[in-house]
Amino acid sequence: MSATKEIAAEKPMFVLLVAGFGFFLLSFIGMGLGPWISLSATMEPPKELADANPYRDDNGDKNAAGRGREVYINEGCWHCHSQFVRPVANEEFRYGPVSQAWESMYDVPNTFGTRRIGPDLAREAGRRSDDWHYAHLWNPRSTVPRSIMPKYTWLFEQQGDAWVPTEKAKDLVAYLQGLGITKKEDVRKLVWPTRVVTAGAPVATEAHGKRGAELFAKHCIGCHGEKGDGLGMAKDFLKPGAADLTTRYLPREEVFRVLFMGSEGSSMPSFSELTEKDLWALSQYVHDLGKQVRKPALATAGNAAAIERGREVYRKNACASCHGESGMVPPAMEGLKPAPKHFRDRLYTADYIKKVMAEGRPGTAMVPFAKIQGQELDDLVAYISSLFNQANYKEE
């Protein structure tokens, strides 16, 4: 097997020095140091980032985001979640602005990743609430019912019956909420639509209802529960808790609006990625969950004197400052996160209104008004129910 002629290319030292060392150095310098130098020379980070490492506090110690980043790496999150938005394949539309080199200038090692089973996380800042993240880390099925992501229960501890996040979980969420923070506003425009106009709900059909049930099981039961009563797997984590959909009459247009816009500040994300057809199917299903509320709720608004007294209660307690005159939320208050509800577009059971008046709605600007009781409370229920725009939303 030995060649008769001696040539350098077959000599041990030659192979070792040229192929082993030489070509390694060539690739290291050309394809490693080269880009490093060219990046350092061309990167133009915004001043606030250039001056401050987002993973360190003023003393140079790791801050919450820095510690969270370690959890992210240790747990191998980066093997299923990439962290760069490519300028191709629709990614700018799905995730947000294309990633730039300076955005990861403090990431050692980089967390770009090479596989994407779950979504890319480069634009995660502000996309979801902290509560959503806690519930999701504790059990991903609690917010995304069909998710195949692993649970991270060891980042939580049990206090009595409730699970609460440990410092590690808080660090991790701090890290996630900082990912792509410089582009947060651009991403908000994509993931939190501020306006939706529809031409009105399509004719309700049995097929819509069936499809709606499938979609509800796929996207909604984690928080809202299988029965829609708001007692899904995530219930311990969410403030405000998921809406009990059996306590309210929601016209399909109103469900469509909430699904499309989400409710920023709560854990209700926007489902604007679903097709319009699917959104109407889901709207019909959700509408049907609470349609029995309409009649009794409107019945409470049958007495004109009670409504007048209720109007006075509403005025006296300054309900209008958030919910607006006649239940139409003033534009300034739409900025509250989550935003107050328009009473023109929904009806609640008397029990539900009374419960919220007694307990408030923790996690929102709605505080308890426990001093309103008895007749006064009944009158207020009558007034709120009377605000519903019956002419616009006929019974279905």
Partner: protein
């Protein structure tokens, strides 16, 4: 000193070969169980829930453990076993510093084990294929340097002037990988930031496959093919071209792992032709193998090692044809980040290099133990592995990847791409079970006396 006069490959060397083979198959079965387990966990929401509260069995950790064990435990031990066998025969010398080699054999296992423990206990680092924590890296680096010392040391001190092809690849693999491993665990893991880090990480992951696994594997074929067929490699010139173009071009394509990332655009553009060039490299090598096979194809029916060698080479053609096309930017847009790439990687690391190591083990085992193995069990191993891997793993996962890529081009929720892939992931989990069964048969076969493998007379050099 009288020891040095003994013919190459006496007890010490064969003992080392045997030790590393046994270590390799232990890591293999562990790695496969890990792979099958995580494959199942991906197959749906209820599967993800299964055993979900056990921190040590978390998908993220098992996923890293899987690649860690198959690369550093299974493949690397297989290559160590091969080099300890081949080098004395090709240099005519006994191994240099055998004391180090013997100490090193369990030391390597300790390094892999420590890395595995680090990963499982939540201490993984953030560099792909180099996730084992720094304290395990130090142990592995030391043991690897020991390996280089023994293997390359033997070659350098042997006085061999013109090396046989196999030795070129072994020298390249050992030397390059030492540098590459150290770079990954120091500069990439702790120094290089963001996009610069990604460029260097691309080099590391690319070259861990291209300048460690590939040359070591190709070295096995260049050794076994002529020995089994009892004829020389068809073209010496093609061997030279194949080797030197691999050594030159392969290291330069690493940035193709981060196409369309914030790494500099010039780097990405450069990676396209430099990666595409590999198609010529590979075809040169494969042509040489097949030309050597000329007129001897039916030997495959009889020889189990040859069959694994040649079917591995078929897979090599496919995976190495895919690779250059993945570097085309329009292909990249769709397949990147998807299971298509996972299927491609398994075709290379399992379908090619693992099969070549199977070939080596089937061939060497009777020569070490003095007893043959069961033909029937070996046939079962081959056919189960072939069908389960090809149909249920490779094809299924490739389809899953294509579907993911296509779904992502739409504006539908990401969850839809996951649900679309689930049936294929379930299929993949089944393939994992079958391949693990096949591998179990293989391991049982190693410890069973049979007639197969004895009839071929030992051919040294």
């Amino acid at each position: 000193m009288s020891d040095e006069a003994k013919p190459p490959g006496t007890t010490d060397e064969l003992g080392l070969v045997k030790f590393h083979i046994i270590a390799a198959v232990c890591w293999l079965i562990a790695g496969m169980l890990a792979g099958t387990f995580m494959g199942y966990r991906l197959s749906g929401a209820s599967a993800a829930e299964w055993l979900g509260d056990i921190e040590l069995l978390s998908f993220g950790r098992i996923r890293i453990l899987h690649t860690h064990m198959v690369i550093f435990g299974w493949l690397s031990n297989g290559f160590f076993a091969f080099s300890y066998y081949a080098i004395p025969r090709l240099t005519g010398r006994r191994l240099f510093a055998r004391g180090i080699a013997k100490l090193n054999a369990p030391f390597v296992q300790l390094a892999v084990l420590l890395g595995g423990i680090g990963i499982l206990t939540g201490n993984a680092e953030g560099v792909e294929y180099a996730e084992s924590p720094w304290w395990a890296d130090v142990v592995f680096a030391l043991s690897f340097v020991g390996m280089v010392l023994v293997n390359v040391g033997t070659i350098l001190t042997s006085g061999v002037r013109n090396m046989y092809v196999t030795l070129w690849y072994l020298v390249l693999g050992f030397v390059f990988t030492t540098l590459n491993f150290v770079m990954a665990n120091t500069i990439v893991a702790h120094v290089a930031p963001g996009a610069a880090g990604a460029a260097l990480e691309g080099l590391w992951i690319h070259n861990a496959v291209g300048l460690w696994v590939t040359p070591m594997g190709v070295a096995i074929v260049y050794y076994l093919l002529p020995v089994i067929l009892k004829r020389p490699i068809a073209s010496h010139k093609l061997s030279l071209i194949g080797f030197w173009t691999l050594a030159f071009f392969y290291p330069l394509g690493g940035s193709h792992h981060f196409f369309y990332s914030p790494t500099p655009w010039w780097l990405q553009i450069l990676a396209v032709p430099l990666t595409f060039a590999l198609i010529f490299v590979v075809y040169t090598v494969v042509y040489n193998f097949f030309a050597t096979m000329k007129g001897q194809w039916k030997t495959m029916a009889r020889s189990i090692p040859l069959r694994f060698l040649i079917f591995g080479t078929f897979n090599y053609i496919i995976t190495c044809t895919q690779g250059p096309f993945h570097a085309l930017l329009n292909v990249q847009q769709v397949v990147h980040f998807t299971d298509w790439i996972v299927a491609h990687a398994h075709l290379a690391l399992f379908g090619v290099f693992s099969w070549w190591i199977f070939a080596f083990i089937y061939w060497i085992w009777p020569r070490i133990t003095g007893h043959g193995y069961s033909r029937a069990l070996a046939e079962w191993h081959f056919w189960i592995t072939l069908i389960a891997f090809w149909v249920l793993y490779y094809v299924a996962d490739t389809i899953a990847g294509l579907m993911q890529g296509m779904f992502w081009l739409t504006t539908l929720p990401l969850m839809d791409s996951i649900e679309a892939a689930e049936p294929f992931w379930a299929t993949r989990a089944i393939s994992g079970v079958l391949i693990t069964i096949g591998t179990t048969l293989f391991i049982i076969n190693l410890f069973r006396k049979g007639n197969e493998g004895l009839e071929v007379a030992d051919v040294s050099n």
